[in-house]
């Protein structure tokens, strides 16, 4: 919800009420915005600038190993003023600044400092002249009322969930519940400025440190969101028998969405990065994208959508000041475009985009649903969680990972949890066509079936 545009707060009864409620200090944020904007616009040595400031409050409640409200996870309240600032000076130097509380409140005294910390950037970015912001839904009045009245229903629902899962023989529960209310204001030297408010609600549940599930939105989580936790639990948890060591013979592996998304972000995020392509630090070359070379012998499309209402991954304008839009990286199995920042746009002489990871990940088309695939397979190893991804070498695509939670199915029956190590090469999996995209039955994410080596 946009409440500030063209240097003015929108005059509306509801917005006036938000200001009077004073959950966060909207007036102070606007005042500081105005001061900062006026200083930057009048500073003769500045060619271009872009900045955002964010005023937020956050409420947290948690359970730590069954201890509700322990000293490690008590009811918590935090508030913060933060922001970022980019300045391009007339001498073509660049300053990149994190704005902390002091720099926002006392901006004027830092202007020389910002100049002092500038550097000569060979690939000086050009801020977008025609960028527009979008207004996806990010504010929920019901959620706001809960925050305002300190009537945190999700804290109580998480307490009920804790009792429910205790009855389902979960020995140790760890839960994190968050509420927050933010006001973010953005401006650039091309005259674009706006302020948007957000309400956030999220919950993470960890069952016996074996299975985790999370949900978060810019709106109040309702009963059906909470039921998702129970559904997910019922599908898998009662199959997690503790069993004696058994050698895993199958190569049928299902990478559930948390694992698949981690692999895609780690390997594609790095190797699609325009800077890494320019510096020849990528598995791919810029020619691979220019010639739309085959990424996967099986056609599928991978894109990010940052415009969906109430989604955490949506944003009104990118961190670089670009208009949010659907960005396709792979189409029909072919490489379409790398991830291009304003800086790598100068390096590669190509238009900038919203970058890999900017928005909700969509894989299309999917081959089957997850549960139908699990049902179909007589033998398979379902990977819920992995250890060691951050230690891998992204440029090669090779991975050799330990499975911390893996469920083995043999001869049509679920055996139980079994330790294992999986090893393959992410790019060769796609290139070979040795995979099926699976749509999760219980949420809007995707999982992947493939055949890879399992050692245990």
């Amino acid at each position: 919800m946009i409440i500030f545009e063209n240097n003015k707060l929108i005059n509306d009864n509801f917005i006036n009420r938000l200001i009077d409620d004073n959950i966060i200090n909207i007036n102070l944020t606007n005042k500081k915005f105005e001061e900062i904007y006026n200083i930057l616009i009048k500073e003769k040595e500045i060619k271009e600038f872009m900045f955002s400031i964010n005023n937020s409050v956050n409420f947290y409640f948690g359970v730590n190993n069954n201890n509700i409200g322990s000293v490690y996870s008590p009811l918590s309240f935090s508030e913060e003023f933060s922001g970022v600032l980019t300045i391009i000076w007339n001498n073509n130097k660049l300053s990149l600044v994190d704005l902390d509380n002091d720099k926002i409140l006392n901006f004027e005294k830092y202007i020389n400092f910002f100049k002092e910390i500038s550097y000569e950037e060979k690939f000086l970015p050009e801020l977008s002249k025609d960028a527009k912001h979008i207004d996806f839904k990010s504010f929920d009045i019901d959620l706001y009322e809960e925050i305002k009245n300190n009537n945190f229903e999700l804290f109580i629902k998480s307490y009920d969930l804790f009792k429910y899962f205790k009855d389902q023989n979960v020995k140790f529960s760890n839960i994190d519940v968050n509420y927050s209310f933010n006001y973010e204001i953005f401006a650039n030297s091309n005259g674009l400025n706006f302020g948007k408010i957000y309400t956030e609600n999220s919950i993470f549940y960890d069952f016996d440190s074996i299975l985790g599930y999370s949900k978060g939105k810019y709106k109040k989580l309702e009963e059906n969101d909470i039921d998702e936790f129970k559904t997910y639990f019922k599908i898998f948890f009662d199959k997690f028998n503790d069993v004696e060591y058994k050698k895993i013979e199958t190569k049928n592996v299902i990478l559930l969405s948390p694992v698949l998304y981690s692999l895609l972000n780690f390997y594609l995020g790095y190797n699609f990065d325009g800077k890494n392509l320019y510096y020849k630090k990528s598995f791919f070359s810029i020619d691979d994208f220019e010639n739309n070379r085959i990424f996967s012998s099986k056609p599928f499309t991978l894109y990010f959508d940052p415009t969906i209402d109430f989604e955490f991954s949506s944003y009104p304008i990118s961190v670089e000041g670009l208009t949010p839009e659907k960005t396709i990286f792979i189409e029909d199995g072919k490489l379409i475009q790398p991830s291009i920042s304003l800086k790598s746009s100068k390096m590669l002489n190509k238009p900038a985009n919203n970058g890999f990871g900017g928005g909700k990940l969509i894989l299309s088309p999917y081959d089957k649903t997850l549960l139908s695939k699990i049902e179909e397979l007589e033998d398979c190893y379902i990977v819920f969680d992995i250890l060691g991804l951050h230690t891998q070498d992204p440029i090669s695509g090779n991975f050799s990972l330990s499975v911390s939670t893996g469920l083995l199915k043999e001869k049509g029956k679920f055996v139980g949890l079994m330790k294992g190590n999986i090893a393959s090469n992410i790019f060769e999996i796609f290139k070979s066509g040795n995979f099926e995209i699976l749509k999760n039955d219980y949420n809007e994410k995707f999982s992947l079936f493939t055949k890879i080596n399992v050692v245990n």
């Binding site: 409200g69 009811l75 309240f77 510096y279 020849k280 230690t391």
Partner: protein
């Protein structure tokens, strides 16, 4: 760099803390918290081009409020203003009143502590307030020109200077102020032509701007030269066959083993479901290794993971976690030591003012009894001057494993992860060495994973002196703090079917 106003002396908040403490006491509440200041300057050069020059400052206050029944709430803000803090405290107290009925385990341990007053402010040899950024950037660029750069490789060289100051306070009058500061230079070499691979390495120093330290810079140049050759070999190397081996790890990997495989399981905030617990308590007396095995955590002065005080205001203790193969003492804080039934060791740390302190390691080491350590003359030199191939040959020639299984040597630490509940750990190396026929062959890195207790019990010998300067960052509970440690130059781990080197990839086609 002038007019920074970094305010790098938090003692100016003495009066404010005094007033806040009085205010909370008047409400019948107990306060324990910290003000943290973190300043840093960092920059990187990729293939000769200056990529960025960043500065970062974070300052704020975070604290627990306890009521007399031992129920608590945690509040934090970047706005250290008396009126704002009073308003927050009143809101926090009100929230606690409404929600304490859902709490199930109040904790009154904080009330037992005796007050401490301490001030330990050291003078850094660099001053971020007066750093000339142009001069710094030029020095960094000139240093890059001294590196042995090869055209077929890509280089990303980073530098970072950091200054932290912490002010800890409690209702009982505890008032502790200390600082720490360090700099680090990092290298990342990649090969991306026909064969692909990359290597990461770093050189650091406490208290000194590394760009002004010729000894450290020369060491970095030497490492770059060595890694130019290594990255090409790794990129062209095969992957090793997955399986079980006799394993030799270097001291940096041994730090990873001590930290990931064992240290986290000894932290008492989650001891209830740790593999080192029995009946939800720290299982003191459990035999976890051979009688020559010791695991010790200790904060050293002027060291990467220096943390002289804990975040609740205690003096951090040296902890002999495993003594002569037997589980001895956990890494604890005031809130968990009784429940875990171990000693109070004041091991809690936090990354930022807004983070809740949790028990965690500082510098952790594996130290073997001298009768189990081989100290031949060939190891009587700097670690970087010893070739892994020679260590592997030495192990074969002297039959150190005393069995006929194959031996692999893992070199260079690339990070790890642990599951303290199930007792699984993984970590990764930079390169693997293995004898094939009469030649020692190098292989691509592979994950080293295993069961914590089986692995500790399989440690069979050490090679060389202790070396404890392997550094890293630990990311427990999403809070990143410095960690360090090591062992003897090399550690031998006997063949065990629960310790696996992950290996060759498998590509098949769907039927």
């Amino acid at each position: 760099m002038n007019n920074l106003n970094f305010d790098n002396n938090l003692s100016k908040y003495d009066d404010l803390i005094c007033q806040i403490t009085k205010f909370t006491n008047s409400l019948g509440l107990y306060i324990v918290g910290k003000i943290k200041l973190s300043l840093s300057i960092s920059s990187s050069i990729t293939n000769g081009i200056l990529n960025n020059f960043l500065n970062f400052k974070e300052l704020g206050i975070g604290f627990h409020l306890f009521n007399s029944e031992g129920y608590s709430t945690f509040l934090s803000t970047s706005n250290i203003d008396l009126n704002n803090l009073k308003k927050m405290i009143l809101s926090g107290a009100n929230l606690l009143k409404n929600f304490q009925k859902y709490y199930n385990e109040p904790n009154k341990n904080i009330f037992e502590l005796n007050p401490i007053k301490a001030k330990l402010l050291k003078n850094p040899e660099f001053d971020l307030n007066n750093l000339n950024s142009s001069e710094f950037q030029n020095k960094f660029l000139n240093f890059y020109k001294e590196l042995p750069i090869e055209n077929s490789l890509s280089y990303n060289i980073g530098i970072s200077l950091k200054y932290n100051e912490t002010f800890i306070f409690r209702s009982d009058g505890t008032n502790i102020l200390y600082n720490d500061f360090y700099s680090v230079i990092t290298g990342d070499i990649s090969k991306s032509d026909n064969s692909k691979g990359s290597l990461y390495y770093k050189v650091h120093k406490f208290g000194v701007n590394v760009i002004d330290d010729n000894e450290k810079l020369n060491k970095f140049i030497k490492l770059t030269n060595k890694n130019n050759s290594l990255v090409k070999k790794i990129a062209e190397a095969d992957m090793i066959d997955a399986g079980n081996y006799n394993i030799i790890i270097d001291y940096a990997l041994a730090k990873g083993l001590a930290h990931e495989a064992f240290g986290h399981a000894a932290e008492t905030d989650s001891i209830e479901n740790s593999i080192l617990a029995k009946d939800k308590k720290f299982n003191k007396g459990l035999v976890v290794g051979k009688p020559y095995l010791n695991i010790i955590d200790e904060s050293f002065d002027n060291e990467w993971a220096y943390s002289p005080f804990s975040d609740y205001g205690g003096i951090r203790q040296r902890v002999h976690i495993v003594k002569e193969g037997i589980l001895n003492c956990g890494l604890s804080d005031i809130f968990s030591y009784k429940k875990a039934n171990t000693l109070l060791t004041n091991a809690e740390r936090s990354e930022s003012y807004s983070d809740i302190p949790i028990p965690r390691m500082s510098n952790i080491r594996i130290e073997l009894d001298e009768n189990s350590v081989y100290k031949d003359k060939i190891f009587d030199k700097d670690f970087d001057d010893i070739e892994p191939e020679n260590v592997l040959e030495y192990t074969y020639n002297n039959n150190l494993f005393n069995n006929d299984k194959e031996i692999v040597l893992l070199s260079g630490y690339k990070g790890g992860q642990v599951d303290t509940v199930k007792g699984n750990f993984v970590f990764n190396c930079q390169a693997i060495y293995k004898k094939e026929g009469n030649k020692i062959k190098i292989f691509k890195p592979s994950i080293f994973s295993g069961s914590t207790l089986k692995t500790l019990n399989s440690i069979s010998f050490g090679i060389g002196d202790l070396k404890l300067d392997a550094i890293g960052r630990c990311g427990k509970s999403g809070q990143s703090v410095n960690s360090s440690g090591g062992s003897h130059y090399y550690i031998g781990i006997n063949y065990n079917d629960q310790i696996i080197i992950g290996g060759k990839k498998y590509i098949d086609t769907l039927i």
